[in-house]
């Protein structure tokens, strides 16, 4: 219990405040006390202060929850991506990143987030777009059909990889293939996820013969 609170302090605070507010609100509804100044103060806590703290800390907990792979995988069309990440025998880029102890549970977010100045906001706006697309286009689609149609909106940026793999480290530069195309990697003209380099992070999702990052022509014309 204590370790859970330490691990998720915002969630624990939000739940505690919600429970407190609910108890006070129910007391007011059931006992029907006289409307004195004390009652109004109790209601200030029940209707104002505690729900505000619940909303504030709940928002933080909610934003944190949206980073988790469990959240991304809750839409059925993401099941193969989630399963691959959780497969200990998988050698895909996504699965290998999912086994990283530092951010493994949030590997979808770690690789698909925007790391610019307003990166979090841009990422969340992109997430809202995903919810829209899922609700109106992919909700009733079979996995096979979705696998054909789901595509990354923009080619994957090397800057996202370089957020962790800075290209400055001696161990990174010790690899001849890295050193030979260093400028092109930094400029983004050669993709880390291109065939011949590390390949696509979700190779099972790429129909043969289609370069990564390119949507199927049928879908592009439909948008």
């Amino acid at each position: 219990m204590v370790s859970w609170i330490i691990a998720k302090p915002f969630l624990a605070a939000a739940l505690a405040c919600a429970a407190g507010a609910a108890v006070l609100a129910l007391w007011f509804l059931v006992r029907k006390p006289t409307l004195t100044r004390a009652t109004k103060l109790v209601l200030l806590a029940a209707i104002g202060v505690l729900p505000l703290v619940t909303a504030g800390t709940g928002n933080v907990a909610g934003y944190e929850a949206t980073k988790a792979r469990r959240f991304c995988g809750s839409c059925h069309v993401m099941t193969p991506y989630k399963s691959d990440s959780e497969d200990l025998h998988s050698t895909t880029l996504a699965a290998r990143h999912a086994r990283n102890a530092l951010f493994g549970d949030e590997n979808c977010y770690a690789c698909h987030a925007d790391y610019g100045m307003f990166g979090t906001v841009v990422t969340k706006i992109g997430g809202m777009r995903h919810v829209y697309e899922y609700t109106f286009h992919y909700r009733n689609m079979s996995l096979e059909e979705a696998r054909e149609k789901i595509h990354i909106r923009k080619p994957f940026q090397n800057a996202t990889c370089m957020h962790c793999h800075s290209t400055e480290g001696p161990s990174w530069n010790a690899i001849k293939d890295h050193a030979s195309i260093l400028d092109r990697v930094r400029a983004g003209t050669v993709s880390c996820a291109s065939e011949g380099c590390h390949g696509p992070a979700h190779p099972f999702s790429k129909p043969p013969g289609k370069p990564p990052g390119k949507p199927p022509a049928t879908l592009e014309s439909a948008r």
Binding site: P51, G62, A65, T66
Partner: protein, 85 residues
């Protein structure tokens, strides 16, 4: 626009019920963090919570204004006021 004169107790009971509904949505999103509950909590849940708090503030401010207005209405009838030269 004239605001309907809802009895304070009724307004506060509505406010308490709205608070419980808003809290339920927020707690649902925390216990099951999937897109639908999270989005509902951050939009509908917080909207309901704001409405509840707004209703509470409306009742409290209205009561305070009434309490302030009451002595000023009574003052011409008070003996001290009439006796003052």
């Amino acid at each position: 626009m004239k605001v309907p004169n809802i009895p304070a107790m009724t307004a506060l009971r509505i406010s308490a019920v709205l608070t419980l509904v808003g809290l339920a949505l927020m707690v649902w999103s925390m216990l099951e963090p999937t897109p639908l509950p999270v989005m509902l909590a951050m939009t509908v849940g917080q909207g309901i919570g704001c409405m509840a708090f707004g209703l509470y503030l409306y009742v409290v401010i209205r009561d305070i204004r009434r309490a302030r207005r009451a002595p000023s209405l009574e003052s011409p009838e008070s003996p001290q006021a009439s006796d003052t030269p």
